[in-house]
């Protein structure tokens, strides 16, 4: 046997070390690619979506002429209600006329066309304000009106003078007016809370569309999922894990739960359509039905994660409880379940987050494409009235023709992601907080 020096690597060691270095490099590359993808995704979403949180507003003084709004002059609310939004149109025209007369802006446009730079919801905004406070009639009130989607696009560089050549909704003269008003400081972009709290709008008013009502729809569905999937899932897991005999029946159940977790979500959607709507006659597009469908989808996730966390509780704890004369149920509920709780909660939150982002099953039960214009007043209404959900709302906006909706789809994705990240963060915190060591 020849003497070999430890100070010099032999060929085998050198080869092994090279292999190890290479492997670590592959790992770093893989992580790098992953991070890069994430960065691209996040920057795209943020750069395209943040615009939706800002909206162009025009501050305009409008004289709410009593002659037009309350001809009898009695301030009777019923009379005031009879004036439709159409009746408010002349007020806007008058306001623009006054603006030109005051010399604040110069334009050859007819005042009627000037009003075209405003959202079509401007009249409704005035009417709502008057109905809420009839004493405003006869006064000159300063309103913050939404500018039309085209004007908003012009301020966000989405709409240019070249792109509007064939556009009937806006003209070059109107954009001249917009420039003047922007320079005068009465027109500009502001944070738009209505995008987060408001409801969806029709195709003609992209500037007024918001996520709020669909958020309520999602929230209602999550309530249904939480109320059903958590107790059912945990009860099923406890029974299977702690009480059920191990035989071929439980084996089949186990295999099928795993299979259920792999079933495409659209299958759950068509099941929901067949069972909940066609057979049980629950209302179309209702968050209750959506919640039931998502419950079916979330159950396997919750069962699998609950069983995993029950399994991870050391058997010695069960022995200890049985050893002092606790019954099986006492040992489970007093000792095993509290120790498994953080894992169960984490699994549930992950399952909920998954359900929150699910769109496909909602397609089939009519929650996609529905324009939810008014938020529900009560919990029952929230469950039973037709509504949309956040991902469905995003899909709805993304498929509309007007690019103004496209921006809102990205904005909606930001809101959805904020929800998902918050839920995952809570899951991580819970696990950190309650994790026990033995």
């Amino acid at each position: 046997m020849t003497h070999t020096s430890l100070l010099k690597q032999d060929a085998r060691t050198a080869k092994r070390n090279r292999a190890e270095t290479r492997f670590q490099a592959y790992g770093l590359i893989a992580i790098g690619i992953g991070m890069l993808m994430l960065m691209v995704l996040l920057t795209t979403i943020v750069s395209r979506g943040t615009g939706a949180f800002q909206q162009t507003f025009l501050t305009l003084d409008v004289t709410l002429a009593a002659a037009k709004l309350d001809k009898k002059g009695e301030r009777n609310i019923e009379d005031i209600k009879k004036v439709s939004t159409f009746g408010y149109k002349p007020l806007l025209v008058d306001a623009f006329e006054a603006l030109v007369e005051s010399g604040a802006v110069q334009s050859d446009l007819k005042p009627k066309d000037m009003a075209g730079i405003l959202s079509k919801g401007a009249e409704a905004q005035m009417r709502d304000a008057v109905l809420a406070d009839p004493t405003l009639i006869g006064q000159t009130v300063s309103f913050d009106f939404l500018a039309s989607g085209r004007v908003d696009g012009y301020l966000k560089d989405r709409v240019t003078r070249e792109s509007i050549v064939n556009d009937k909704n806006i003209s070059s003269e109107q954009l001249d007016l917009v420039d003047q008003m922007r320079d005068a400081g009465v027109l500009g972009k502001k944070f738009n809370i209505a995008f987060i709290t408001g409801s969806d709008s029709s195709d003609a008013r992209p500037e007024a569309a918001g996520m709020g009502v669909s958020m309520v729809g999602s929230l209602m569905m999550m309530l249904v999922v939480l109320a059903l999937a958590l107790p059912i899932g945990v009860a099923a897991s406890i029974y299977l894990e702690e009480f059920a005999p191990k035989n071929w029946i439980t084996d089949i159940i186990e295999v099928n739960i795993s299979n259920l977790a792999a079933v495409p979500s659209i299958v759950f959607g068509i099941l929901g359509l067949a069972v909940f709507i066609n057979y049980m006659h629950l209302p179309n597009s209702a968050p209750l039905v959506g919640g039931l469908v998502l419950t079916l989808m979330t159950l396997p996730t919750i069962i699998i994660s609950t069983r995993a966390s029950l399994k991870s509780v050391p058997p010695s704890i069960r022995d200890a409880a049985l050893g002092v004369g606790a019954s099986k149920m006492q040992s489970v509920f007093h000792h095993v379940l509290p120790l498994a709780a953080p894992g169960i909660l984490t699994g549930t939150i992950i399952g909920l987050a998954q359900a929150l982002g699910e769109t496909a099953p909602l397609l089939l039960i009519g929650m996609v494409g529905f324009i939810a214009s008014n938020g529900p007043e009560t919990i029952t209404e929230g469950l039973m009235n037709p509504n949309s959900a956040m991902p469905a709302q995003i899909y709805e906006w993304a498929k509309r023709a007007d690019p103004a909706f496209y921006e809102r789809a990205w904005g909606g994705i930001i809101i959805l992601l904020v929800f998902l990240i918050t839920m995952n963060f809570i899951a991580v915190m819970l696990r950190r907080r309650f994790e026990r060591r033995w």
Partner: protein, 265 residues
């Protein structure tokens, strides 16, 4: 084994606390305990010794029916405690386990406070009518577990934060808090250092005054130190059973002698 050499005269049935007759245990197809007869006396420490896999722990777990929790385990024969067959269909294993306490190989305190560890048994069995009574029971159990002085100032601290030896004494205190009549100990010192072992052994000797203690151990010295009676198991058979002094000085079966002298096991 048909004839088990009895190194002392057969104990009279009336003095024995636990009496096993023809006990067979199967794990699936594996015949783990073969026809074991044993008489365990009250207020005595009985040690089960034998090489690994000889069935001593399995037999111990038959005495409080902990084997019931293992699906594939079947027990045949009779085990009588105070003349009552514990495998009678009328017997509720939960009630039995309150009467036959158990201490496990690895200290397994609940991840709760020291107080709650000991109070758990009395609570579920309704042994205390109020907080004061429960406090009293907990203190008594911790004193008997020889750990009171170490933990009396931190009863609300987690039981899992104690040292290994303290944890095991806490588990013993937890087992005796429910006032059992028999205490089963499955290698209670195997995870402990020599000092903690000495403390637990001392405790076992004190417990003998009130309970019938059955201890499974790998250490023959420990069996010799703490027990009055010793049973030697080998390959599922009870080879020899008798007074500890006798077993360790003049064993009758050659297998016992081989094990004690270190030639097998």
């Amino acid at each position: 084994m048909q004839d088990i050499p009895q190194t002392s005269e057969a104990p009279v049935a009336s003095t024995s606390k636990i009496s096993a007759k023809g006990v067979q245990v199967y794990y699936g197809d594996n015949h783990a305990i073969k026809d074991v007869d044993v008489e365990i006396e009250d207020k005595t420490v009985t040690a089960f010794i034998g090489p690994s896999g000889c069935g001593k722990s399995t037999f111990l777990r038959c005495i409080n029916r902990m084997n019931d929790t293992i699906d594939i385990c079947r027990v045949q024969g009779q085990i009588l405690i105070d003349g009552e067959d514990i495998y009678d269909p009328a017997v509720d294993p939960v009630q039995l386990r309150a009467k036959v306490g158990m201490v496990f190989q690895k200290p397994n305190p609940f991840p709760k406070s020291i107080y709650d560890n000991v109070a758990y048994g009395p609570r579920i069995h309704g042994l205390a009518r109020n907080k004061a009574e429960l406090d009293e029971i907990v203190e008594k159990a911790l004193r008997r577990g020889a750990i009171w002085n170490e933990v009396k100032d931190r009863l609300q601290a987690p039981g899992t934060g104690l040292s290994g030896g303290q944890q095991q004494r806490l588990c013993i205190a937890r087992a005796i808090a429910t006032e059992p009549e028999v205490l089963l100990m499955d290698e209670p010192c195997s995870a402990l250092d020599p000092i903690a072992t000495a403390q637990v052994e001392e405790l076992i000797d004190e417990l003998r005054q009130n309970y019938s203690v059955v201890i499974v151990t790998h250490s023959m010295q420990q069996a010799a130190r703490v027990s009055q009676r010793t049973a030697f198991f080998h390959l599922g058979n009870l080879v020899e059973f008798g007074d500890t002094d006798k077993i360790f000085t003049t064993p009758e079966d050659p297998r016992t002698e081989s094990y004690i002298t270190g030639r097998i096991g």
